[in-house]
């Protein structure tokens, strides 16, 4: 078993709406960029791990192979909510650790423009007569009638409950996290908004999901993908051959 697995190359596309690029275009850019960064080609790769959530049944990995290299290697399509890209990376690493291959390629891509609030917040079908359906025996959509299913709303409540349970997590703390994240974005030319905001600006923003979420900014204690933007990132990885191999000296892109 390979003790260590090294990241040999990475690439990330710029966050944006990209109306003229589909998921395969974005994924191809990221994958080819990572291979180029590593000085490798598809024929060197023994496993492809492909992450995509919004079109999880579309076999993004196979579509990508058809565009950048159908070399007969196994492909694993993964979908795991916010952890989709990280799961793809893990699949590639596990294949290397298991000794199946020496080089793997992990790609994650998402087109979120027009995806709305990622859950809830959209009109749902309702029949002419009340008839119980689903695991709650509901006669009508429950989003908005029994709490909210929208992701900003759900995470606003999780943040509030965290503060209630552990203390010290008031709105200003969430705003400080947002301030810090926006400061980081100015260091990444590929980030969606490369603009710094002061704590005062963030705290005065209109709150759409009080108390933690605002219209344009996410004050949430996790790394987040900005809604309505598309992104893709890719890493090629391989086991270490010696401790003097080129290590992952660069930090991986945050997604």
């Amino acid at each position: 078993m390979a003790e260590n697995v090294w990241i040999l190359g990475i690439h990330m596309t710029k966050f944006g709406k990209h109306p003229d690029l589909d998921t395969v275009d974005l994924g191809a850019q990221a994958a080819r960029g990572a291979l180029s960064d590593a000085g490798l080609h598809m024929r060197d790769v023994g496993v492809l791990a492909a992450g995509n959530l919004m079109r999880a049944a579309a076999s993004f990995g196979q579509q990508l192979q058809k565009q950048i290299g159908q070399t007969g290697i196994p492909v694993f399509n993964v979908a795991n909510a916010c952890a989709t890209g990280a799961t793809a990376l893990r699949v590639a690493i596990m294949a290397i650790r298991a000794g199946e291959t020496d080089v793997g390629l992990a790609v994650g891509v998402e087109k979120l423009s027009g995806a709305g609030l990622l859950a809830g917040g959209t009109a749902q079908q309702q029949g002419d007569t009340w008839s119980p359906q689903g695991r709650f025996g509901a006669v009508a959509p429950i989003d908005g009638r029994i709490g909210t299913e929208t992701m900003p709303g759900v995470f606003a409540q999780i943040g509030m409950e965290y503060g209630h349970r552990y203390g010290g997590a008031d709105f200003e703390l969430f705003a400080r996290i947002s301030e810090k994240n926006h400061a980081h974005s100015t260091l990444n030319p590929l980030a969606s908004y490369q603009k710094r905001f002061s704590l005062e600006q963030i705290m005065n923003e209109v709150r759409s999901w009080s108390p933690t979420r605002t219209r344009g900014r996410c004050a949430r204690p996790t790394v987040t993908v900005a809604p309505r933007r598309s992104w893709s990132a890719s890493r090629s990885c391989a086991p270490s051959r010696s401790s003097s191999s080129a290590g992952p000296s660069r930090s991986a892109p945050r997604c």
């Binding site: 917040g121 009340w130 119980p132 908005g144 029994i146 909210t148 929208t150 409950e161 709150r207 979420r213």
Partner: protein, 131 residues
């Protein structure tokens, strides 16, 4: 005129309206949805228990964007009813941070949802400030 139907099957409208839960016979974990097994202990037998109609607001969010047909702003929340976490809207309260606070005492109330093509009324639930 038929009897009103509840929005969800765990809302009981007969007598004093209340919620029921599926309680795991092995570990006591409670669920509102149809269960295949207990997520806490893997047991697969449950019995139905009444959930207290009064509780404390544990978390909330004031929602300004929602599905078409849902009036905004509204207050979505999680209510601690004697140890059972209940997802619900907080109703009959001004939807602003000055009037909604974590820890406030709430009680269950019903919310009319309108009638269908057959003239049957559906009734939902929410929690309103108690006292």
């Amino acid at each position: 005129m038929s009897d009103p139907v509840p929005l969800v099957d765990y809302l009981v409208l007969t007598g004093q309206p209340h919620l029921t839960a599926h309680e795991c016979t092995a570990c006591g974990a409670r669920y509102f949805d149809r269960r295949n097994a207990c997520a806490a202990c893997e047991a697969d037998t449950f019995h139905t228990v009444d959930v207290p109609t009064e509780g404390e607001l544990r978390a909330f969010t004031i929602v300004s964007y929602a599905a078409p047909g849902i009036p905004v702003p509204f207050v979505a929340g999680v209510v601690d009813c004697g140890g059972t976490s209940v997802r619900a809207n907080v109703v009959n309260v001004s939807a602003d941070p000055e009037h909604v606070r974590v820890g406030m005492k709430l009680r269950l109330t019903t919310v009319p949802l309108g009638t269908d093509a057959a003239g049957t009324e559906a009734v939902g639930f929410g929690f309103e400030p108690a006292g």
